[in-house]
Symmetry: C2
Subunit: 151 residues, 2 copies
Amino acid sequence: MLSNACQYAIRAILYLGIQTDENNKIGVKQISEDLETPQPFLAKLLQQLTKTNLVSSTKGPNGGFYLSEKDTKNSVWDVIKTIDGTSKFDSCFLGLSKCTDETPCPVHFIVSPFKEKLLNSFRDKTIEQYVIEIQQTGKIISLKDFDILKN
Amino acid sequence: MLSNACQYAIRAILYLGIQTDENNKIGVKQISEDLETPQPFLAKLLQQLTKTNLVSSTKGPNGGFYLSEKDTKNSVWDVIKTIDGTSKFDSCFLGLSKCTDETPCPVHFIVSPFKEKLLNSFRDKTIEQYVIEIQQTGKIISLKDFDILKN
DNA sequence: CTAAAAAAAGATTTTTTAGTCTTTAAATAA
DNA sequence: TTATTTAAAGACTAAAAAATCTTTTTTTAG
Ligand code: FES
Ligand code: FES
């Protein structure tokens, strides 16, 4: 459904929400190890997210990536928009040119409510809220049994 | 969500359900024109669907592709399984290795119910049922305003 | 029996997505 | 001030998906 790039990006931003703030930055090397994503590829993605102000970064010793207070107010939807664009959520499941209730394809009324609700969920919930939920319920963000609640 | 290949395949099988039977076969050229899909690519897909017994075909003059009575009893899910495989419906939205209620990623409980219900819809409805619904409600199967209820 | 029509098979090309590598710029600690 | 650390930038390569082209086989109408 989402591209690899977008999946990595979402996991990374949630990771940053959990692990970092202005005084606790983490380098791309560690992030990609913890999340088990290809390092240079993730670096590109983080650069992109930095350029669109979804994550923050500083260079040099003790530098790295982090989420500022403000950054945590963004949504997963913001990440999806930046990396994959909106098309997957507003285009027809069967690839037809228009996806509206007036020009429904044979699966439109099956698929459409899902897309709608999914989009709302991703748009209305902040990274901060996700982070709280992850910390309280111990949800998983990495491929291996990386316990998000360690340290 | 689905690959181009799979979208074309689903549209094609519904088209065949509407337009063809044992005595009314249609060649790939016409099908691809009506559905506005790349011709040789669609040909490949129809071959694949023929090999897995989801559509029928005969060679030679007046030959072409068609759905037999039996073929219409298959489901859209059968097509998806053949062309794209099941992974999109049973793997994690964030690309983690396991997608279960016991090992949920941060979006699992948002996404999972959708996938489940969507899968059921595609699995429990036959091509035949889709065709009836399309004919009754005039749903769209092509990019342009190809009126499925013509002829 | 032959020519034409159509699918089948499979090799090839193009485009997109994924991923890597190398160089440059900034920050900071010593 | 200088060496080191880290992100930024951009060129590059690899793999997968999408699409095309070419040849072969089957069918059947004449
Ligand atoms: S028209 Fe196909 S999903 Fe809406
Ligand atoms: S674990 Fe991620 S969607 Fe189920």
